[in-house]
């Protein structure tokens, strides 16, 4: 099956460049979107270091670390899928994209488990729940609101990424994405990598960096 450009593009190369630029402009807007939340985190952490320390101590380092490893490996598998497809190995690419989607599901399963654990402890978004009645350290409500907001938005991005990759997997299997024009998979992969990059910053902020406030 040969790749053909849409009628409004002069050739396949221009179509690919337009698609790539569109995705990167979207990713830049995504970075700005998350940057506002990161800025909020740093501002409130500066104001309430002790509340944030206590919040970080409530999160389970092991689960956060497992999810970090899962997303790093998933970034590798999707990058390798693009590499294999360019070399004409469609079956290998399909398996690797499938593995990436499965790893995304693992990430979500762990995250869901963590949320359920927090709910069980009486920790809900917006400072709701019995936990905050017993732990009224200033800033701890803000910590967990930011935690649910930032990790929840990230989880939505993971779900969207899984949907995008699953669609691309079907297209690879059907042969509508071919090695001669593999860029749709490469562009979908770039989105998945951004999801990984956001988690790379969320992990230390919510699991690893108590400020050592006495």
């Amino acid at each position: 099956m040969s790749a053909r450009a849409a009628t409004h593009f002069e050739d396949l190369e221009r179509q690919e460049q337009a698609a790539r630029l569109g995705m990167w402009v979207f990713l830049a807007s995504e970075i700005l979107f998350f940057a506002g939340l990161f800025a909020l985190y740093f501002a409130y952490r500066n104001e309430h270091p002790r509340g944030f320390d206590l919040g970080i101590a409530r999160n389970t380092i092991a689960w956060g670390s497992v999810n970090t490893a899962v997303l790093l490996v998933s970034s590798y598998t999707v990058a390798l899928a693009v590499h294999e497809l360019r070399r004409g190995k469609r079956a290998a690419a399909a398996w690797l994209v499938g593995a990436t989607v499965a790893l995304g599901a693992c990430f979500l399963a762990v995250k869901t488990g963590e949320y359920l654990e927090h709910f069980h402890e009486g920790i809900y978004p917006a400072g709701a729940g019995a936990f905050f009645a017993e732990n009224d350290e200033p800033g701890i409500k803000m910590f967990f609101t930011l935690y649910f907001c930032m990790t929840g938005l990230h989880a939505i991005h993971v779900i969207v990424g899984m949907g995008v990759l699953a669609t691309l997997l079907v297209r690879v299997l059907r042969g509508s994405i071919v090695p001669a024009a593999s860029y749709p998979l490469a562009i979908g992969a770039v989105y998945w990598h951004l999801v990984d990059v956001i988690w790379i910053f969320l992990w230390p902020l919510f699991y690893l960096t108590p400020g050592g406030v006495r």
Binding site: E16, R86, S182, L208
Partner: protein, 126 residues
């Protein structure tokens, strides 16, 4: 690392038509994963080193290094055209301005927030 290189197979597969022919080699991809996992391990180990106030900046520097590795070797940002790099650079510069101005505000406040702002005293006193 000299990861980015054009392979003959990629050129052949691309048929010389698409611009995505320059790609990171399989060895570079695997090396990147190993480096990312090693940096994640370092972050985790430093969690137990009790760095105190230095813990956050050190963790952010390691995270930034990981983000650069992902952007260069997995996202192949360096082989993208200048328009793409310009779009991403604009986003990063704007984030820098946002964070710098917010930091300038909160780090230079001279008076701490009042613990009992005027008008919040209990009314039934006395």
């Amino acid at each position: 690392m000299s990861g980015a290189g054009t392979t003959a197979a990629a050129k052949e597969a691309a048929g010389g038509k698409t611009t995505g022919a320059k790609e990171t080699s399989a060895v570079s991809l695997a090396s990147t994963l190993v480096a990312l996992l090693a940096l994640a391990g370092l972050s985790l180990a430093l969690r137990y080193a009790h760095l105190g106030a230095f813990g956050l900046p050190v963790a952010m520097i390691i995270a930034a290094a990981k983000a650069v590795l992902v952007a260069v070797f997995f996202m192949e940002i360096l082989v993208e055209r200048v328009t793409v790099r310009l779009a991403m650079s604009t986003g990063i510069v704007l984030v820098g301005i946002l964070l710098a101005l917010i930091a300038a505000d909160i780090l230079t406040r001279e008076t701490p927030p009042l613990s009992n702002p005027p008008g919040t005293e209990p009314r039934d006193r006395g």
